[in-house]
C-alpha cells in the first residue's frame, strides 16, 4: 500500500516538470508584453526594449524558465496587472471561499448520491429504480447553468430564502454570525452544485451495484449460506465502490478548482470567478498561476483516486 503511494508520488515529479514547462511556454506564447500597459505611453519603443532586456525577457527560454521556477519555489508567482498585488496573495484570498464551498458541495453530493445509487441498484428494474433514474436523467440533461439561474431566481429573488451574491454579509460581525452568514451564502450554490454532481455518481454506483449483484462471487457467497444483507455489506458494496473511488479524486479537484458557472452566477468570490475575470482582463500572471494550480490539482486528483482505489482493490497495489 505505502509502496504504491510512494511510487505514485515519484511518478508525479516528471509530470509536474512537464506541466510547468508547458504552462510556461504557453504563457510565453501569449501576445503582448508586460510593459506596454504599465509605462508612460509617450515613452519610446526603445524604452520597452530596454525594460525587456534588463528584466531578462530576451534571455533564452530555458534561462527564463529557470528563473520562473526559482521564483515559484520562493512562492513568487509575479504580480497581477489588474489588482497590482502579488498573485499568491490574490489566490490565497479566494482559495478559502472555494475550499469551503467545495467541501460543502462534496458532502452534499455524496450524502445524496450514495443512498440513491444503492437504493436504485438494489431495486433494479422496479419503480424505485425508475424514479431514481428519472432524477438522474433529468439532472444530467438540463444544462448546469440553467439549473443555477433557475435556482437563484426561484430561491434567491423569488422566495428570498437565500442571498444571491457574495460569500459573507458585510454587516455580519463576530465568529458565529460570520460563520452563519457564510453558510447561508454557500447553501444554495452548494445544493445546486451537488444536484448536478449527484447524477453521474448515482449512475456509477447504481450500475456498480447491479454488476456486482449479478456476479458469480455473490452466488458463491449465497451458496455459503450468507444472508443477502451481509452479502451486500461484505461483497457487493465494496466492489460497487471501485468506479466511485476511481472517480472521487477527479471530482474533488474539479470542485477545488472552483466552478466557473456557480461562482459567476452567484457572484461568489472564489477561484472560478477569479479565473474568469483574469481572462476578461488579460491578467496573464494570474492566468498562468491558475492554470499551473489547476494542473497541479488535477495531478493530485489522479493521485487521490489511485490511493483510494489501491485502498479498496488489492489488484492495483504494487508488490
Amino acid at each position: 500500500m505505502w509502496k504504491t503511494i510512494l511510487r505514485r508520488v515519484l511518478i508525479m515529479i516528471p509530470e509536474l516538470i512537464i506541466l510547468s514547462v508547458l504552462v510556461f511556454l504557453m504563457a510565453k506564447a501569449m501576445p503582448g508584453d508586460p510593459f506596454t500597459g504599465q509605462i508612460n505611453p509617450k515613452d519610446s519603443l526603445t524604452q520597452i526594449h530596454h525594460l525587456m532586456r534588463i528584466n531578462g525577457l530576451y534571455d533564452p527560454w530555458y534561462e527564463q524558465y529557470w528563473h520562473w521556477v526559482v521564483h515559484l519555489f520562493h512562492g513568487d508567482l509575479g504580480t497581477s496587472y489588474e489588482y497590482q498585488e502579488p498573485v499568491t496573495r490574490i489566490i490565497a484570498q479566494r482559495a478559502g471561499n472555494t475550499l469551503w464551498l467545495a467541501l460543502l458541495t462534496m458532502i452534499l453530493t455524496y450524502v445524496i448520491a450514495l443512498p440513491l445509487g444503492i437504493y436504485a441498484g438494489r431495486h433494479e428494474g422496479h419503480l424505485q429504480d425508475t424514479l431514481v433514474r428519472i432524477y438522474t436523467y433529468a439532472t444530467m440533461s438540463v444544462p448546469f447553468f440553467v439549473v443555477l439561474v433557475l435556482g437563484s431566481w426561484i430561491f434567491g429573488y423569488g422566495l428570498n430564502w437565500f442571498p444571491t451574491s457574495g460569500s459573507v454579509s458585510p454587516t455580519a460581525s463576530g465568529f458565529l454570525p460570520v460563520l452563519l452568514s457564510r453558510l447561508g451564502h454557500m447553501i444554495l450554490p452548494a445544493v445546486l452544485g451537488a444536484l448536478f454532481a449527484t447524477s453521474s455518481i448515482t449512475q456509477y454506483l447504481r450500475s456498480g451495484i447491479i454488476d456486482a449483484k449479478h456476479s458469480d462471487y455473490v452466488m458463491t457467497a449465497q451458496s455459503k449460506g450468507v444472508p443477502m444483507k451481509a452479502i451486500y455489506k461484505h461483497h457487493i458494496f465494496r466492489n460497487a465502490l471501485l468506479p466511485i473511488a476511481a472517480f472521487a479524486g477527479y471530482s474533488i479537484t474539479g470542485l477545488l478548482g472552483g466552478s466557473i458557472f456557480v461562482e459567476q452566477i452567484f457572484s461568489y468570490p472564489g477561484m472560478g470567478l477569479l479565473f474568469l475575470n483574469a481572462i476578461n482582463y488579460r491578467d496573464y500572471t494570474v492566468i498562468t498561476a491558475l492554470v499551473l494550480l489547476y494542473g497541479f490539482l488535477n495531478l493530485m486528483g489522479t493521485l487521490l483516486s489511485d490511493i483510494a482505489l489501491s485502498a479498496i482493490d488489492p489488484r492495483v497495489r504494487v508488490k
Partner: protein, 337 residues
C-alpha cells in the same frame, strides 16, 4: 440400499423472458443416495446448471417459477424461507462453481472467503477458524496453505482458485456437494487433479457428490450413477455400467457414439445433427429428441414420453429406444466436423 437423502420429485423450473415463463427443466425426478457420486451429463443448454441452482435455491425468485419438491434429509428445500435455506446452504450442502475466475470475490483474501462459511455455521473462534482454513487448503491439495491463505484470488492460477472454491464448498463438511462443471475452465492435467480431490473428499467426508459435466470421460471413471439430460428433461438414469455398457435412449447412444477415440479421424466421428431447442421453441409434447433422429418413424415415439423402468433402477424416457438404430455409415462432411 443406501438411504435416499436427496429426492427430487417432479421439479419444473421456468424463467421469465419478455413477460412469459419458459420451462428450463421439466419433470425432473432424481434421487441421490448418501455417499454416492452422481453425474449429470448433457449438452450445453440442457438444463444441468438450472437443476443445480434449483437444488441450492440460487435462482432469483423475481424471474423464476419453481414447482415440485426437493426433499433433503426429509425437508423440502423448495418450501423453505431464505433464512431456513441459509441454514442448509454452506453447512449441509455446498456448491462448486464452473468459473473459478469470477466465482471468488476479487477484493477479499482467500482465507476470509473460506472462513465466511465458518462464520455462519460454526462457533469457532478466530484462531480455530484460521487453523481450519489452513487445514482445508491442505486437504484440497494446496502445497503452501499458510501463504495461499493470505493471497488474493488474482494472485492464484485457475487450478488453485478452483481448489479454493472446493475448500469453500467443503468448509463445513456438507453431506451434499454439487459441482457444476468444476473442470470445464481448467486444462486437462489440472482437471484430473481436481477430480482426485473430489473423490478424496467423498471418501473422507462421506459426502454425496452431484457432478455436473458434459465430459463423458470424466463420468466413466468417477461416478456411481449417471443421469443423462436432454432439453431440460432427464432421458436416462442408471449406473455407470448400465449407461456405458447398455445405453438405451437414442440420445445417450448418440452421445457415446460421438465420443472420439484415439484412432478416430474427423471423417468417421459421429455427429448428432441439429441442436438443442431453445427455451422459447421447446416443443410442448412429443419426444424432444425426435427432430434430431428423423429416420426414426414418428409413430415409434410416445406422445408424452414418460420414464420406463427397464429393471435394476435403470430408467429411460420414451419407448422409441426399442426401435432406435443408427443410419449406417452416416458420415459427417468435413466442414461440419
Amino acid at each position: 440400499m443406501a438411504k435416499q437423502f436427496l429426492d427430487i420429485k417432479d421439479v419444473n423450473t421456468s424463467f421469465e423472458m419478455d413477460g412469459k415463463y419458459y420451462n428450463a427443466i421439466s419433470d425432473i425426478n432424481l434421487h441421490v443416495n448418501s455417499n454416492e457420486f452422481l453425474a449429470v451429463v448433457g449438452e450445453s443448454g440442457c438444463g444441468k446448471s438450472t437443476l443445480a441452482k434449483t437444488i441450492m435455491g440460487l435462482h432469483d425468485p423475481a424471474y423464476t417459477k419453481i414447482s415440485g419438491q426437493v426433499d433433503f434429509e426429509g425437508h423440502d428445500l423448495l418450501k423453505m424461507s431464505e433464512k431456513q435455506l441459509n441454514h442448509y446452504r454452506g453447512s449441509k450442502m455446498g456448491m462448486i462453481f464452473q468459473d473459478p475466475l469470477s466465482s471468488l470475490n476479487p477484493l477479499k483474501k482467500v482465507k476470509d472467503q473460506i472462513s465466511e462459511s465458518l462464520d455462519y455455521h460454526t462457533k469457532l473462534n478466530s484462531k480455530q477458524k484460521n487453523d481450519r482454513v489452513i487445514k482445508l487448503l491442505g486437504e484440497v491439495g494446496i502445497d503452501d496453505p499458510k501463504l495461499i491463505a493470505n493471497e488474493f484470488p488474482y494472485q492464484l492460477s485457475g487450478g488453485m482458485r478452483q481448489r479454493v472454491l472446493i475448500a469453500i464448498a467443503i468448509a463445513c463438511e456438507p453431506d451434499l456437494i454439487i459441482a457444476d462443471e468444476p473442470t470445464t475452465a481448467l486444462d486437462v492435467t489440472i482437471q484430473a487433479q481436481i477430480l482426485d480431490v473430489l473423490r478424496k473428499i467423498r471418501k473422507e467426508n462421506h459426502s454425496s457428490i452431484i457432478l455436473i459435466t458434459h465430459d463423458l470421460g470424466v463420468v466413466a471413471d468417477t461416478a456411481d450413477r449417471v443421469a443423462v439430460m436432454y432439453a431440460g428433461q432427464i432421458v436416462e438414469v442408471g449406473t455407470v455400467q448400465q449407461i456405458f455398457e447398455h445405453p438405451l435412449h437414442p440420445y445417450t447412444r448418440s452421445l457415446l457414439r460421438s465420443m472420439p477415440e484415439l484412432n478416430t479421424t474427423s471423417d468417421d466421428l459421429y455427429v448428432i445433427d441439429g441442436q438443442v431447442p431453445s427455451l422459447k421453441k421447446m416443443p410442448k409434447t412429443g419426444d424432444r429428441f425426435a427432430p434430431r433422429i428423423p429416420w426414426i418413424k414418428a409413430s415409434e415415439h410416445e406422445k408424452n414420453p414418460v420414464m420406463h423402468d427397464v429393471g435394476n433402477e435403470h430408467f429411460v424416457r420414451c419407448s422409441c429406444y426399442k426401435h432406435f438404430y443408427f443410419p449406417d455409415q452416416k458420415k459427417v462432411s468435413e466442414n461440419n466436423g
